[in-house]
Structure formats: C-alpha cells, structure tokens
Symmetry: C2
Amino acid sequence: MLVLGIDPGVSVTGYGIIEELGGRLLHVYNGGISSSLNNPFPHCLKEIYADLEKIISDYSPNVMAIENLFFHKNVKTALKLGHTRGVAILTALNAGLDVYEYSPMEIKQAVVGYGRATKDQIQIMVKELLNLPEIVPFDPSDALAVAICHIHSTNMREALKKSI
Amino acid sequence: MLVLGIDPGVSVTGYGIIEELGGRLLHVYNGGISSSLNNPFPHCLKEIYADLEKIISDYSPNVMAIENLFFHKNVKTALKLGHTRGVAILTALNAGLDVYEYSPMEIKQAVVGYGRATKDQIQIMVKELLNLPEIVPFDPSDALAVAICHIHSTNMREALKKSI
C-alpha cells in the first residue's frame, strides 16, 4: 500500500508518501508546495492542483490521507485553509484515489501514542518511525504523520475483521 | 462579454451566466449544484468541479466572477465554504478563465445601489435588471448578482480609462 498524506496549509501544503511493505513503513518522498506571497491566492490553488496531480502521476499512490478539520480559532484562516483542503481532496478524487480523513487526535494517537502530543513530538516520532536521517520540516512531517495514521488504522481495521 | 457568476455555498452552489450585448444585460442560464446530504462531502466537491466544468464547456463564458469572503460568523461553515469556493475558482482557472472577486458590499452596491441591501432586495433587482419572468431562488440569484457586478465594474473601469 502506497499512501499520500497531505497537510493542507495557508502558506505551505505539505505532502508525504509512505509505502507499507511486509509490515514495515518505508519513506518514499516528501515536500511542500509554497503559496508564494507574490502569487495571487487563486493561482496558488491552481499550483497546488497541478503539483499534486504531478506527484500522484509520478508515484501512483493508492489512497490519500488528510487531516479532518472542524474547527480553527481564526475564521479568516479557516476560510483560506478550506480552499487548499478542498483543492487537495478534489485532486485526489479526480485522479481516482480514495480519500480518508483523520482527526488531529487520531493522527497524534497513531504516531506518538498520545492524542495531545505537540508538533515537535510528532516531528521526532515521524523521523524515528520512518528511520529518516534527519528531522523533516513541520508541513511535510505532518503529511507523513497522517499517512502513518492511515496505515495504522487500516491494519487495525483488518486485524479487527479477522478477530471477529 | 459572457460572465459566469458563482455563489459558493455549503448546501447549494449557485451559478448564473449573463451576456452583455450593446450595453444590455441578457440572462443566459442559471441553476444550482446541490451538495446532497447522502453524498460524502469530498464527493460533493468532485460534483461541483464536474458540473461547473460542463457548464463552462457548454456556454464558453469569458470570465468567472465570485464573491470575495473574508469573514463568516461560523468557523465550521467558513471551513466548508472555503472548500467549495476553492474548487469553483480552480475549475475556472483550469478552464482558462480569469477570475474576478467582489466583496458582498460591492455586489449589493452594483445591483441594488445600496451596500447594505437585503437578500430579498437583490433577488427583486436581479429579476428586474435581467427582465426575468419570475424571481430566481437565492443561490442562482446571488450568482447572477455577482455577474452583473462584474459587468458594471468592467464598464466603470473602461469609462474611467477613457476619461483620463
């Protein structure tokens, strides 16, 4: 299973691809799409769509995993975040990928084992779990975290099915 | 000039196409794309993209005009609204249309002549300005209003250029 994790953001949309092979997590690729301040916001959306479309076409992930957001303390940021998140989800669906959504708490629980973990703790655990040579910046690290969460959740669901 | 106006919404995304011919406003088409409660939200986004893509391909508008939103009283709604708005803008840009954004006050000013007009007043003025046989529902009516606003603003900008 090849999973594309997405961390949509107002200034950077992080992405990370992880493969699960025989129960092991293998890091494939990660990065961030910057919404340049010199580029009008609508054009940033077009760039997110085009870049994600290329990543999906290059790596052929099976599914997309993305953080589910119901709340944000700043309405203006929530509105902007909605735009990038909507475009990311659309790109995946248009490319034929299934989209899975996880709450911030589920992601933290899956990666750190603690639903109230800090961003730094996630970053360290992502590095450890994927055996990376160094810590990855926040946006791609959060994207890798949601991909890890999807793999854990899928394994858990399958294990539960077998045990019934 | 053929203008596609868009009113993105959480439950219905309204659209309206208006042609300006020799200074007259001609109504071409209007409708709404419902985000069905039985359809998961990501799939509603895909539907909005596909439906708008078809409308653009069928009617070949020159530009898209859409309301600019910086605030919403409900954060949850703002997040959802951001998704549909982002997808609508992306559809236009991917189809090669320029996108113009207008504030709610600019739209009301252009259609009713009063920046604090009510939704009902907009509805009545849209019917009058486009010489429609009857009142159009709120969502497509608001979409037609933003298209009217774009035509007025463009004419105003051109008149100003000539007078300089």
